[in-house]
Amino acid sequence: MEYVSPEGLRLDGRRPMEMRQIRGELGAVAKADGSAVFEMGNTKVIAAVYGPREVQNRSQQLNDQALVRCEYSMANFSTGDRMRKPKGDRRSTEISLVIRQTMEACILTHLMPRSQIDIFVQVLQADGGTRSACINAATLALADAGIPMRDLVTSCSAGYLNSNPLLDLNYVEDSAGGPDVTVGILAKLDRVTLLQMDAKLPMDIFENVMQLAIEGCKAIANYIREVRTFQLVLPVVEDHLGTIREYQATGVSPGHIVFLSLPFLKGIPSQLTLPNSAAQVPFW
């Protein structure tokens, strides 16, 4: 099957070095201390963080650092055919462990001894790259909860099909049987915290593919910064436009901000322009 056409377009019309459209939203789960929804193309993931709070199982308490627990599950309706066992199977346990180790590397656990931080990640729609979307959502949720972190962890995947390195594989490309490299980095510090690969790759091609995935991670980190920047820019935009909107007295839940970003083209940093519709996005 042809995954990259002779004109250089993939199955969904993207270029080989082009990422899917990403979108992040904070504060989706009102009850959680921090939460976020993260979308990469059709893959949609929700993360909720609880903590730091008292350790529920005294025997697991660590005296010098916080205990980080992570649970990954897929909703029954997330894949094409309804799944029968969303949690507890081998793949979910493995991904839970991977996300826990990645986030533990960036949380400053020694500042919160004898406490517990719970990260729950659930996939609402799966279209390839769920692992990466989960890590990105968990980073946003941890930042929303105000848990001290060394840096933002972002993650992206890349593969190699038809002799082309491809960035951000979707489900069809992922199931093609080719190699799939998932990289997670600490964005500003430029350190790798997660590196996984399926199948085999020659060493020189592996370096190219990994570098491509790292560029994807950095692009996501730039856009995550814009999410927080947006949160306080919006009221200023309101004042410039001179509009003051009516507010309804309801029992209001915390405000959340939506941002939209354009696909990342390698070598050409895309400008994030403020679409007109953003000024009307209500911030609660």
Binding site: P52, R114, S115, P148, R150, K188, P235, D239, A249, P254
Partner: protein
């Protein structure tokens, strides 16, 4: 859009920062003493951000990150609202929305002796002050002020308590008076207790709706004040006043 020139460190002040941003480079500032507040940490020569929020600077040399969360980090001398969870022989266990349960010694009241230990049921709301707050150790509270008087500390009876974020509590306690409280105070009379851990307690009796001072609750005023405060977190001063006006128009 927010442009952020990346050259000088002072350009980060009053801007949103996310974890990992390096806001100061100490190698370029020799012989300076810098005080770091919450949300910042030192990594060899770089000062980097731990929590997402707004970077603030106060002269001569204090930097900190102002952020608003649902969880509370206990700090000495903070006044907070706690809920009694359990009572032991020498302490009450109080939930303060922090990483650990806090202890309130049974004698930490004005004129407290072994003979007149107060009896608090589970679920009692208390207005307390933090005395000790260290990492990994349960914080300690007290119901007296520094000189041993009760001041306003102790159980809060009746009224309505709601939870919000720490940022909202700080805004309500800022001076000069926060615009939403000022606007509400011009038309209504109510009592309010703000805990720095994100809990706010409101109480109003019927005198606020124009009757004489009757000792009976006025639920409509309490709910109005509560909703006004909850909606005011992300609004500027002018927007808060407009919101309160619209709310008050609805009940009159």
């Amino acid at each position: 859009m927010d442009e952020r020139p990346l050259t000088s460190p002072t350009s980060f002040v009053d801007h949103i920062v996310v974890p990992g941003d390096v806001v100061l480079n100490l190698s370029s500032m020799a012989n300076h003493t810098i005080k770091l507040g919450g949300g910042l940490r030192q990594d060899c020569d770089a000062i980097s951000v731990m929590k997402a929020g707004k970077l603030r600077f106060s002269k001569p040399n204090k930097y900190w990150v102002e952020s608003s969360q649902k969880r509370y980090v206990p700090c000495v001398e903070d006044t907070i609202l706690g809920i009694v969870v359990d009572s032991k022989a020498d302490n009450f266990l109080v939930d303060i929305k922090g990483p650990a349960l806090a202890f309130l010694p049974v004698l930490a009241f004005e004129g407290g002796t072994r003979r007149n230990i107060p009896k608090f049921e589970t679920g009692t709301l208390l207005y307390v002050r933090v005395v000790k707050a260290n990492d990994g150790v349960n914080p300690e509270l007290t119901c007296t002020d520094a000189s041993g008087k009760a001041a306003e500390f102790g159980p809060l009876k009746e009224g309505y308590m709601f939870e919000s974020s720490t940022g909202l509590s700080r805004m309500l306690l800022s001076s000069p008076t926060c615009p939403v409280l000022e606007a509400l105070g011009k038309k209504l009379s109510f009592e309010i207790a703000v805990g720095l851990n994100g809990r706010v307690w409101v109480w109003a009796d019927l005198s606020s709706v124009g009757r004489f001072s009757v000792n009976a609750a006025s639920p409509s005023t309490v709910i109005l004040v509560g909703n006004a405060i909850m909606s005011s977190e992300s609004l500027s001063g002018v927007q808060q006043r407009i919101m309160v006006e619209k709310l008050l128009q609805r009940i009159q």
